[in-house]
């Protein structure tokens, strides 16, 4: 049961495969988790509006979103389970040494997830078994527990960036463990806020983009307009807050993980008056001014660290720039939405087709920004799995053959992703709307075949 003394991967290919498998499965899960955080809240909102106004469009939206939540929560729950397994099968040495330090966050996440799973069952299957108001209330724990799970999980990732709450003894074993200090490490507030807001944006823009398509084609029924407006407004309100939080995050990284910041901004050499570079753009002294409010401030460059502790800077910088570019574009879209809304209410103007075209892309764009941001923080931490304390290469499972696991996972997830999208697309069919709800109601109301 005790791990052998030999550290390190069986082969470089297995090590790369382990990292790719973790990145791929996490990247898959993060989108589903984002929807799992946001969609229950949107569903409850629509159901509440229905109860308040009696407008059947709200009822239809709540029903549809609840069904989509059912599918996406299921896929999200099982893809999250894979991550729990991978913590051990891919990174056993990380878990062996530090599992107890950050474990409390996961334990609390487990409790929140349990509450989510229980109320998902009650909410999805309880439409006809519970009085309307009680049913509405059972949706609230799902939304709250979803945000709580996200928070608890991010405490662990924040800890990997800012490890606290332990000391290492002469044998490299942890002592003086303080699990709460580990959970509430300096990176937790900013990372958790940034991620939860990002999840709301991803969910809001993705759901809205589904309804932008029929609106563009002129099938602008009230149902579609509300289906667009509720999630898009949610995401649009979050977008400007996210820009401020993003600024907070960059400043935090520049202070606490300056090497990651240097990689993000492409600062190769330590110098004063660093220009702000973005793709082909260059503003002299811009970065120094942005970061320190002083155009001549000195920023530490990558070359001031030994080569062995530098992250792969190109990946970090590119993904960071993608995230910033999309974030700014989404902010612009949010402003455009506010203007569209104002013109609609003031002058009865129709929503511009160009706005809807842009909105169609917003969902995918937000998901890409999420992945890019995640890549920035994860790749930017390399070569460390625990920043400054444990290298990723020392954490990996030493068993040979990990790469075959990656191949199997790639195939299964490709099929899973395709089928999930196919099922969701079929859910939009009008035939489903007309015929299927009846079938379904019979079942939830009366048990099998009654």
């Amino acid at each position: 049961m005790v791990l052998g003394a030999a550290a390190g991967p069986a082969s470089p290919a297995d090590f790369i495969a382990a990292r790719e498998q973790m990145a791929f499965t996490l990247g898959f899960h993060i989108i589903l988790a984002s929807i799992g955080i946001g969609l229950p809240a949107l569903t409850v909102l629509a159901e509440w509006r229905w109860l308040r106004t009696g407008d059947p469009s709200y009822r239809e939206l709540a029903r549809r979103w609840a069904k989509a939540t059912g599918v996406l929560f299921a896929v999200g729950a099982v893809s999250g389970t894979v991550l729990s397994f991978e913590m051990g099968t891919l990174w056993p040495r990380f878990m062996d040494t530090y599992g107890q330090v950050f474990g409390a966050g996961f334990a609390m996440e487990g409790i929140a997830f349990f509450i989510e799973a229980i109320f998902i069952g009650i909410y999805l299957y309880g439409w006809d078994r519970l009085p309307p108001r009680v049913h509405l209330l059972t949706g609230i724990p799902i939304a709250v527990a979803g945000i709580a799970s996200a928070f608890f999980v991010v405490t662990v990732n924040a800890w990997m960036n800012q490890p606290r709450g332990f000391r290492l003894d002469a044998h490299g074993r942890v002592t003086d463990v303080d699990p709460l200090a580990a959970m509430f490490n300096p990176a937790t507030p900013v990372q958790a806020t940034h991620l939860i807001l990002a999840a709301l944006m991803v969910c809001g823009f993705i759901v809205a983009s589904v309804y932008a398509v029929p609106l563009l084609r002129g099938r602008g029924e009230r149902y579609h307009r509300l289906g667009f407006a509720i999630p898009f407004t949610t995401a649009a309100v979050v977008a400007p807050i996210q820009v401020i939080v993003g600024d907070w995050a960059s400043r935090f990284v520049s202070e606490r993980q300056p090497i990651k910041f240097a990689a993000m901004e492409g600062v190769d050499h330590t110098q004063a008056g660093v220009p702000f570079r973005f793709a082909f753009l260059e503003i002299p002294n811009g970065l120094s001014l942005l970061l320190r409010f002083d155009p001549h401030a000195t920023i530490r460059g990558l070359d001031s660290w030994p080569a062995g502790v530098r992250p792969p800077a190109e990946i970090v910088q590119t993904s960071f720039e993608i995230m910033i570019a999309i974030g700014m574009a989404l902010l612009g879209l949010a402003v455009w939405w506010a203007y569209t809304w104002w013109r609609h209410h003031r002058h009865g103007a129709r929503w511009s087709p160009w706005f809807l075209r842009a909105a169609t892309l917003a969902g995918v764009a937000a998901a890409i920004a999420m992945e890019a941001g995640w890549t920035t923080t994860e790749v930017g931490r390399q070569p460390w799995i625990v920043y400054g304390v444990m290298r990723t290469v020392d954490a990996v499972n030493p068993s040979p053959g990990l790469r075959y696991g990656l191949y199997v996972v790639l195939v299964v997830y490709a099929v899973l992703g395709a089928v999930t999208i196919g099922v969701l697309r079929r859910m939009r069919r009008p035939s489903h709307q007309a015929g299927a709800l009846k079938v379904d109601e019979k079942i939830t109301a009366g048990g099998a075949g009654r």
Partner: protein, 309 residues
């Protein structure tokens, strides 16, 4: 009683709950594949629908408790058995997604079952087999999950899941299906698997050297279950069958005799976990009870019941 003992007890409680609830859902997947009649598949889908997500979380609970409370044990098991455990994880992904897709496509006018039947059924067998094989190999102190004890434990786990599922579904069929013959069929599945699993479990435990009164308890509960099934006491047999299956798991735990104290996390960690579980339990346990009661009640909308009153 040290903190480590409490943690072990909690992990065992979680494992038992996972076997008795999540395991039954795996067994239901096997019956879904084997059953010929649509009425039986209907019962399985309706019985599992609201509860399988919650039943699944017991596994997460066990894993998180193990890696937090006994990190070296978790790391050692995961390193040594990463192949069967990865198989189990993939089985969990396929099983859960296939079930969710099948449920949602029930609303479409296409043949929803044909698409997912095999994915759902096969993954519902692979996962408990792989998990059981790992547990059995560890309990017997063997090296490889493909060894005879591993294969035996894998098969036994699949059998236990199928047995529990058949027992639970007999009551669900009586509750949900308009056709009385459906419950009768699940009853015959339960009687059959009960006899087979009993015949598999008893000699096996003796060969593997389990010396514990738990064997007697399991055998007794198994016999009582067969009698209760015969007499159609479908609610009571749920308890006795759960006891029979649970005591097999506890017997394996006694056999494994893992030295966990040396691997335990610091008391400060365990204290935080226990407090979190205590606070969480205040919300969680009543909610869980409500979930089961709500969907075990006679089906019917709240309006129907209001009218009936």
């Amino acid at each position: 009683m040290s903190y480590a003992d409490v943690a072990v007890a909690l992990i065992l409680v979680g494992l038992s709950a996972y076997l008795l609830f999540g395991g039954a859902d795996f067994g239901a997947g096997l019956w879904h594949l084997l059953a010929r009649r649509a009425a039986e598949k209907d019962v399985i889908e309706h019985a599992m629908g609201p509860v399988w997500e919650a039943n699944h979380v017991w596994l997460i609970f066990v894993m998180v408790m193990t890696w937090t409370a006994f990190p070296p044990v978790f790391a050692g098991i995961m390193t040594a058995y990463w192949v069967p455990l990865s198989l189990a994880a993939l089985g969990i992904v396929i099983r859960g997604s296939a079930f969710a897709f099948m449920k949602i496509e029930h609303g479409f006018k296409i043949e929803h079952r044909r698409r997912y039947r095999w994915a759902f059924g096969v993954s519902s067998v692979v996962t408990p087999y792989a998990l059981g094989a790992v547990a059995g190999t560890i309990a017997a102190g063997d090296r490889h999950w493909l060894s005879p004890p591993g294969a035996y434990a894998g098969l036994l786990t699949v059998g236990l899941c199928a047995y529990l599922a058949a027992v639970y579904l007999t009551w669900d069929a009586r509750r949900l299906s308009p056709n009385a013959a459906t419950a009768e069929r699940f009853r015959s599945y339960a009687l059959g698997t009960g006899a087979v699993v009993g015949a598999l479990a008893l000699p096996g435990s003796i060969v593997l050297g389990v010396r514990s009164p738990l064997i007697g308890l399991s055998a007794l509960a198994g016999l009582v279950s067969l009698v209760l099934l015969w007499r159609r006491a479908y609610l009571a047999v749920r308890l006795s069958a759960a006891l029979a299956a649970g005591s097999v798991l506890w017997g394996a735990a006694v056999l494994s005799d893992l030295d966990l104290d040396a691997a335990a996390a610091h008391d400060a960690v365990l204290r935080v976990i226990f407090v979190a579980l205590g606070v969480g339990g205040i919300f969680l346990l009543p909610a869980l009870a409500w979930l089961y009661v709500l969907f075990q009640r006679e089906a019917g909308s709240h309006e129907d019941r209001a009218r009936a009153r």
